[in-house]
């Protein structure tokens, strides 16, 4: 496997800290400790692209150049970062004009980018490089009976489906099954969570969150598993507001890496489980019940 430079992105240093903590812990236990890309910067997310396209590409490409200098591929857990970096990589390869402008900007800061960096996601690395067999062997506390709804969000499979099926992604399902949990059918797997609309237009954003939570409840899920820090934030932090308007039971929202970490026997504290707004005690109790 080519060396991986871990690109956490801004969210994983802030609201999504539990994602960062649990990923590091899981990769450590599996014998592939993460090494963070030195001096990385913000990918620009969707907002920068709404203001200035050239600057947005230059900003993102700096991270590609830094990874190339380390002869590494980028390991990118956040959906928005993943798409921005992948889009930039493709755009620089396809557009001579943009490639030229960006190279000039990188050159001004002593960097270069030849196009030799792949953008990889933890789901891809865990299922393809590490492999489910190795993960199954490493499971110490199977999560038997835990019903999980897998929610992937949008930008990980759209517009590019790089490592999973665009309409029916399976990589997280497979990892969750490897923990012994039961994966319930969840047709809203890749439906939009509302992104920043929860903050800017709450009546719109909260309704989108409601539909996702309601579907999980209708499917009998004990917990929703997510892979994107913005999805996690929307579903978790806005849940009490949604429940004020709609009749819903509380449901914990965990990163897939937190659920995987629990099965690997990693202490809940190390996985950032206590950072959840909606209590994840029901998940912890189930683990304790099986351990007993």
């Amino acid at each position: 496997m080519k060396k991986l430079a871990y690109y956490p992105g801004c969210s994983l240093k802030g609201t999504g800290r539990a994602y960062d903590e649990s990923l590091r812990a899981v990769f450590e236990v599996l014998g592939e400790p993460l090494e963070e890309l030195d001096d990385w910067n913000c990918c620009g997310a969707t907002s920068y692209m709404s203001i200035d396209k050239r600057e947005a590409y230059a900003l993102a490409s700096r991270n590609l150049a830094l990874a190339e200098r380390e002869k590494a591929d980028l390991l990118t857990p956040c959906n928005a970062c993943y798409l921005v970096l992948e889009k930039t990589r493709r755009h620089l390869a396809d557009s001579a004009e943009m490639g030229h402008r960006v190279r000039r900007a990188l050159d001004a800061v002593g960097l270069s980018y030849e196009g030799d960096v792949r953008i990889r996601h933890p789901l891809e690395v865990l299922t393809r490089d590490v492999g489910e067999e190795r993960i199954k062997e490493a499971v110490k506390e199977p999560l038997k009976g835990l019903k999980v709804a897998p929610y992937y969000g949008c930008q990980i499979v759209r517009p590019y489906a790089t490592f999973d099926d665009q309409y029916h992604p399976q990589t997280m399902d497979r990892l969750l099954k490897a923990t012994g949990a039961k994966v319930v059918p969840y047709p809203f797997k890749t439906r939009c969570c509302g992104a920043s609309q929860t903050g800017t237009l709450p009546e719109v954003g909260l309704h989108l969150v409601y539909r996702l939570l309601n579907e999980a409840e209708a499917r009998g899920a004990d917990v929703l598993a997510v892979i994107c820090p913005l999805c996690q934030f929307n579903l978790d932090a806005y849940q009490s507001q949604v429940r004020r308007e709609y009749d819903l039971e509380p449901i914990p929202i965990l990163y897939f890496s937190q659920i995987l970490g629990l099965a690997l026997g990693i202490p809940a504290k190390k996985l950032g489980i206590d950072r959840c707004v909606v209590s994840a005690n029901r998940v912890l109790e189930r683990r304790a019940a099986h351990a007993a």
Binding site: C42, S50, K53, E55, A108, R158, A195
Partner: protein, 148 residues
């Protein structure tokens, strides 16, 4: 009450040329109005113009309607329309271009906070890159970004 009718006089040929010259957007000419972009859009119910209507208004040059619509600001870039379009029209990327032009021309709807969020986010990032190396969090913007 003024009837909601558009006439030739409301069209801007320049705007029509601009929108269809965006990368991949020449395919708007091939739109067959199947409506999959609108049907698949999770924000469709809240929009004034559906994505299909917006693409059509754009290609006909109805600049004021397009740039003044809520639709471009409701778009969360989930790319559902883009992957559904049987003519491969890059609807989401066109939405981005429309956002940029609306901000440039200052014609976005005043009471919508979304363009303000985008602008402030961009200023924050451009003003000081979020860097992992430095605990101060906001460090110097890489020089050279200005030059492109």
């Amino acid at each position: 009450m003024r009837p909601n009718i558009r006439t030739e006089a409301d069209r801007s040929p320049e705007f029509a040329r601009w929108i269809t010259s965006l990368p991949g957007a020449e395919k708007i000419q091939e739109c067959m109005h199947c409506g999959l972009c609108s049907a698949s859009c999770p924000l469709f119910a809240y929009m004034d113009y559906s994505p299909r209507q917006l693409m059509h208004l754009g290609r006909e040059g109805f600049e004021a309607d397009v740039l003044g619509s809520f639709t471009i600001w409701l778009c969360t870039s989930c790319y559902q329309c883009t992957v559904e379009c049987p003519r491969q029209i890059p609807v989401t990327e066109i939405m981005y271009a429309l956002k940029r032009r609306a901000i440039e021309e200052g014609v976005y709807t005043e009471h919508l906070p979304i363009p303000i969020l985008a602008r402030e986010f961009q200023r924050m990032v451009a003003g000081g890159i979020w860097s992992a190396r430095d605990d101060s969090r906001f460090v110097r913007r890489p020089s050279g970004v200005d030059g492109i």
